[in-house]
């Protein structure tokens, strides 16, 4: 009986293909938008989470605080300095690695070719803190860091650009007009969640970077890797205590630096995603409401058009509930169809986006099932009134209807 009714509904939808399609458009667009955005959103979140976990969840990042807009006028920004680094190295007992790094984007030249690459000046502990290694060659030696030697490591993108598949070790490239000799090639890190190529990099000892690239003694970032089994919040407290001392901050003054751990950064990302999902939900609700009204409208038309048919069915023995079910099923099948088309469209869009943005394609089965259920529900809710109107018709009047 139900199967019979579904077949009947499909037939009646097929009879008015164009009309049915236009009716469905609201549902299709609503569902497609939600599915596409949520799939892309969760792909992005996955990517960012992956990047963050690659950085290591035990990593803390220390930077100088930037003056806030509208903040207190008395705030004077102060860069991180070597004595901050030395203070941390000496004072932190629960850290696995403490590393200083400064970064700048400059032109890197080899022969006739030149590219803009991210150049970082750092030390040996950087590779421990960031859990990054060389795929060939070696990292800096103690003396190279101390003396600020003209040596460098290149990322996979830089190697590819200059040397193709060839081995660049021992070859000199020019970074910001000074020459440095390549001693190793870094492991590939891929694209970051923010779309940066993390392999388009050159690394050199911090001293060389400060002298030849930045021209100052500033340190941009201090990375601290907590020892395994130590809570990052404990390490964070120690860092703050030490830096307040090395930077001579008065007891009642605010920190002029900030310490963040990766879980905080991950949480910030997650809360942004939640906000976005909530807003999407609101947009989807409006669009599904519009779609539902479209379905109600077309079902009212359909009931009126088929008044005579309803009369015939009632005359030959259909109950009210048979007519009610027939039109309810028709409305439900209609909006379910819209939902399925919407899901297919949304997933295709998300697939396309994941190809072009190189993020993982992360379709969520619960969201898809929810969309299926919701579109069926829309049909039932908005199909009920028209169906009831059909079922309540008087068979004599209905048969007389022209």
């Amino acid at each position: 009986m139900i199967w019979e009714t579904v077949r009947l509904a499909l037939r009646s939808i097929r009879r008015n293909v164009l009309r049915s399609f236009l009716t469905l458009l609201g549902i299709v667009i609503g569902v497609a938008a939600v599915i596409a955005m949520i799939t892309i959103g969760s792909g992005t979140t996955e990517k960012v989470k992956g990047d963050i976990s690659k950085l290591g969840s035990n990593l803390l990042v220390v930077r100088a605080a930037r003056p806030e807009r509208g903040g207190p006028a008395s705030f004077t920004p102060r860069q991180l300095e070597e004595k901050d680094l030395l203070g941390l190295r000496k004072g932190l007992t629960n850290a696995k690695a403490v590393s200083a790094a400064s970064q700048s984007t400059v032109r890197v030249v080899y022969g006739p070719e030149n590219i803009a690459a991210s150049v970082t000046g750092t030390d040996i502990e950087f590779f421990t803190a960031r859990d990054w290694n060389v795929s060939s060659g070696r990292i800096f030696t103690e003396s190279e860091v101390r003396g600020g030697a003209n040596v460098c490591l290149v990322g996979q993108t830089v190697r590819q650009q200059f040397f193709g598949a060839g081995d660049p070790e021992g070859i000199a490239i020019r970074v910001n007009r000074t020459s440095c000799k390549i001693i190793g090639v870094l492991e590939s890190k891929g694209t970051s969640g923010f779309g940066q190529d993390q392999d388009n990099v050159v690394m050199m000892p911090l001293g060389s970077f400060q002298r030849r690239v930045s021209g100052n003694r500033n340190i941009d970032t201090i990375y601290v890797a907590a020892q395994d089994g130590i809570a990052t919040s404990d390490v964070q407290d120690s860092i703050e205590a030490i830096l307040r001392d090395t930077r001579r901050i008065a007891p009642d003054a605010d920190n002029n630096f900030e310490v963040r751990d990766m879980t905080q950064i991950a949480d910030a990302m997650a809360s942004a995603t939640t906000t976005m999902t909530g807003m999407l939900g609101a947009v989807a609700a409006v669009s599904l409401l519009v779609g539902g009204i479209g379905i109600m409208n077309i079902m009212l038309v359909s009931v009126t058009e088929r008044t005579r048919e309803i009369g015939i069915r009632l005359a030959i023995g259909a109950h009210e509930k048979h007519i009610l079910i027939q039109f309810l099923v028709e409305a439900t099948v209609l909006s379910l169809l819209g939902g399925l088309i919407g899901i297919a469209l949304g997933l295709s869009l998300a697939g396309l986006a994941s190809l072009t943005l190189s993020i993982p394609f992360a379709p969520s089965i619960p969201i898809i099932l929810l969309a299926v259920g919701f579109s069926a529900l829309i049909g039932m809710v908005f199909g009920f009134f028209p169906a009831l109107r059909g079922a309540r018709l008087d068979p004599i009047d209905a048969l007389r209807h022209e």
């Binding site: 009986m1 019979e4 030959i316 023995g317 109950h319 509930k321 004599i396």
Partner: protein, 234 residues
């Protein structure tokens, strides 16, 4: 004969509207029809014949009085109970055929069986038998648009008899047909009345058509004005 009549009207009244504008379509009608009868109901428009037919077909209920169908007080039943009665015991044939458009003949004939919950295979078999009975075997996959008026009315008759009803209610069944087609349809109805003992109540305003029935009841102003047995048919 002691057999109870199939249909009894006991002071049946049917009124429309309120107060001074009230119209009495039936003004206290007494009537009884036995099983196996072939009755033609005649009368000018507004005489109450259609109202009487709707009540007989359990599509409508009297304002007052008693309508008995198969011994049941059918006038007091609710919509859905009357739908069951119609589905089980009554077949309908209309002037305008009233087939579902864009639906094949056999599917049209199957329709009443769907509401009885008859399974698909048996439904198809019985529908084909009914089409055979009205002389339309081989046309089962034609839609109404592909059939002539006479053929459409045969499909409608097949739909009415597929449930093997006790009563066939026909509302001007030949109203849209030419003389030759009218003759064919009336022959078919006579045959069904004679061969399977189907009780037929038919509304018509054509004396020729009424002549096929065994009994003619004339309505006028909500009353029965005449009730005669047709010598020719009897």
């Amino acid at each position: 004969m002691a057999e109870k009549p199939l249909i009894t009207f006991d002071k049946v009244r049917k009124s429309y509207g309120m107060g001074e504008a009230q119209v009495h379509a039936l003004a206290g009608v007494d009537l009884s029809i036995r099983r196996g009868e072939f009755v033609a109901i005649m009368g000018p428009s507004g005489s109450g014949k259609s109202t009487a037919m709707n009540i007989i077909g359990c599509l409508d209920t009297p304002t007052s009085g008693r309508y008995g169908f198969m011994g049941v007080d059918a006038g007091r039943l609710d919509r859905n109970r009357r739908a069951v009665l119609r589905n089980l015991y009554i077949g309908f044939v209309f002037q305008g055929y009233n087939l579902l458009p864009r639906t094949t003949a056999v599917e049209n004939v199957e329709l009443p069986l769907i509401y009885r919950g008859v399974p698909h295979g048996e439904r198809r078999k019985r529908a084909l038998e009914a089409l055979d009975q009205v002389g339309l075997s081989g046309r089962q996959n034609h839609t109404p648009a592909e059939l002539s008026g006479g053929q459409q009315q045969r499909v409608a008759i097949a739909r009415a008899i597929v449930t093997t009803p006790t009563l066939l209610v026909a509302d001007e069944p030949t109203g849209n047909l030419d003389t030759a087609r009218t003759h064919e349809i009336m022959e078919l109805m006579t045959r069904l009345n004679n061969e399977i003992g189907l009780t037929i109540v038919m509304v018509t305003h054509e004396p020729d058509v009424a002549g096929y029935a065994k009994r003619t009841i004339g309505f006028l102003d909500g009353h029965i004005a005449s009730d005669t047995l047709n010598r020719e048919a009897a």
